[in-house]
Subunit: 328 residues, 2 copies
């Protein structure tokens, strides 16, 4: 609904203004320029908006969570800058990645200094009685997101992977930062444990649902809407939810062979993408993956029940639908 | 004196035991193994020992500073892991660097996760009334050390450099983390501002003196004692205190030309090292550099005057001499 989109957009705008202002205008430019470049390149700002919404859903002013929202968004962007080096990604959000536009050393160091500014923003909660919890949750998110990236790279060379392996990785790589948004937002609002846990569940399930959906969109979105090539995961040999499911469900010998080839060769050429789309659909893996994403979204929705009804709780509910119906 | 060396060694041993124990025994091994590898590779542990000594010099138990000492040592090692990638260094402390033994992605990610554990250790001061100051000083050190590394790389391609440029870089790259040892150690001991500033001065001057001395040893140490090649800075085109001074002081046309060549070519071949040793000595730059290092060590010593005399203050005094007379 329009009302909720307006709340989302308004928080988004506050975040954008505040985060850009938070970047120091100082030397050396060789670090502060790429820092500003990645932060200005946008993205959905889901994480900081979630942090503020979760604070609001616990009956506090979402603004109180602004510094934490910024800290988490900088942390998230730090992971992107470093992951892009490790994954050799040339493009991010339609722009050249930092290591590509500048060089690797610049990208490493820009990521590092960003982490400093993320913590600097977080230190603003020194007045808060649960300052220590806020810091511990944030630091654990940093540690787990690194573990998640390590698992992700590790999986690249694995020929076997289970749904469980996938979920462990996704939880660390994606869900833990989202959980930090929920828990830190709620803690800033001085919420009780019941609500903190509810928002942890909400953000975690939203994150996993979002990721499974991302895997689906990588292969089945309209190319023009996705903003990148269809089937990139197939080419890069990413063992996504979709492909692991397809391996479990495929019955035809030719289909099984092609999926085996994907696993053994760590990916397939672009020419196989239409065939893979067909196989995954035919096997039932596409439908099961959609269902699984939906299950996570439903769990996210259910966990909101313990929260009082206010505009921000409603926006969290709306956000599930908004994200689950996206087609890019 | 033997007594002070024993105190240093005893703190060093506590740090070594505690820091190794602090590394989690967990998956993914691809991160925790290189983390343990760099931390176990030793080094002098000057920073954590300083942190504990400065706490002791303010009449508190040095053990109270152990978690901060560990945090700073992990931060320092994080900078080494990432700097070694940027500088393409194959060897560190006589062992292969992480990006060399494993790969770059592993080294980036290991550094990142180390920063998480550094903060985790620092969060243990949540009970301290100046927890926020401790965190801010630490985070500023992280930010400045990144800026220092950026300047250092930037200087690599510069053909002109002043002593001032050098000092700005060294202050950020080396002295700021040392200052953090002094100030955080003193703050943990609940020292007053006079003592905190004294220990900030002490550690800062010690750091700069140490660095100038390091530049001298790079070119004039006994090869067997240095543990690495003599004249590496000349080969790599590092604009050290020594060489900037030599440029200012050299009078003979041939000498000036060779120094110019060093600046214009960003370094000289190994065959020029004996000649550069000769020029720098003859110009008076070696003597002036030694004197300048001594000036910083003297300033460090003087700043200890405001501290009460105890065993740890005496050890800080002894440390200046111990470091200034080192020949590797």
């Amino acid at each position: 609904m329009q009302k909720y989109k307006e709340i989302f957009d308004s928080l988004n705008q506050q975040i954008n203004e505040y985060i850009i202002k938070s970047i120091p205008q100082k030397e050396p430019k060789q670090l502060y320029e790429p820092y500003k470049y990645i932060i200005s390149s946008g993205g959905k700002r889901i994480r900081p908006v979630l942090t503020m919404l979760c604070c609001g859903a616990c009956n506090s002013n979402p603004q109180e969570a602004l510094d934490a929202a910024i800290a988490i968004e900088i942390l998230h962007n730090f992971t992107l800058v470093h992951d892009d080096i490790m994954d050799n990604s040339p493009i991010r959000r339609g722009n050249q990645t930092i290591h590509n536009k500048w060089d690797e050393a610049t990208a490493i160091l820009t990521g590092d200094i960003m982490l400093g500014y993320a913590y600097k923003s977080l230190h603003n909660y020194h007045y808060h009685k649960r300052n220590n919890d806020i810091h511990n949750i944030f630091t654990n998110a940093l540690i787990e997101v690194c573990e998640g990236q390590a698992l992700d790279m590790n999986y690249n060379s694995r020929k076997e992977m289970t749904i469980y392996d996938y979920l462990v990785m996704i939880k660390k790589k994606t869900a833990v930062i989202l959980e930090a948004c929920g828990t830190i937002g709620a803690i800033i609002a001085n919420a009780d444990d019941l609500k903190i846990n509810a928002l942890k569940e909400y953000t975690s399930n939203l994150g996993i649902g979002f990721q499974i959906q991302d895997d689906i969109l990588d292969l089945y979105a309209q190319r023009s809407e996705l903003g990148k090539k269809i089937g990139q995961d197939i080419i890069e040999g990413k063992k996504t939810y979709l492909i692991i499911k397809a391996k479990l469900l495929a019955k035809d010998k030719d289909d099984i062979d092609l999926i085996e080839l994907f696993f053994n060769n760590n990916g397939l050429g672009e020419e196989y993408i239409p065939k893979m789309q067909e196989i995954i659909q035919k096997s039932g893996a596409l439908e099961e993956s959609k269902q699984e994403a939906l299950n996570y979204f439903n769990k996210a929705s259910k966990s909101l029940n313990v929260l009082e009804n206010n505009l921000y709780t409603e926006t969290l509910e709306w956000l599930i639908n908004w994200l689950s119906y996206r087609n890019y």
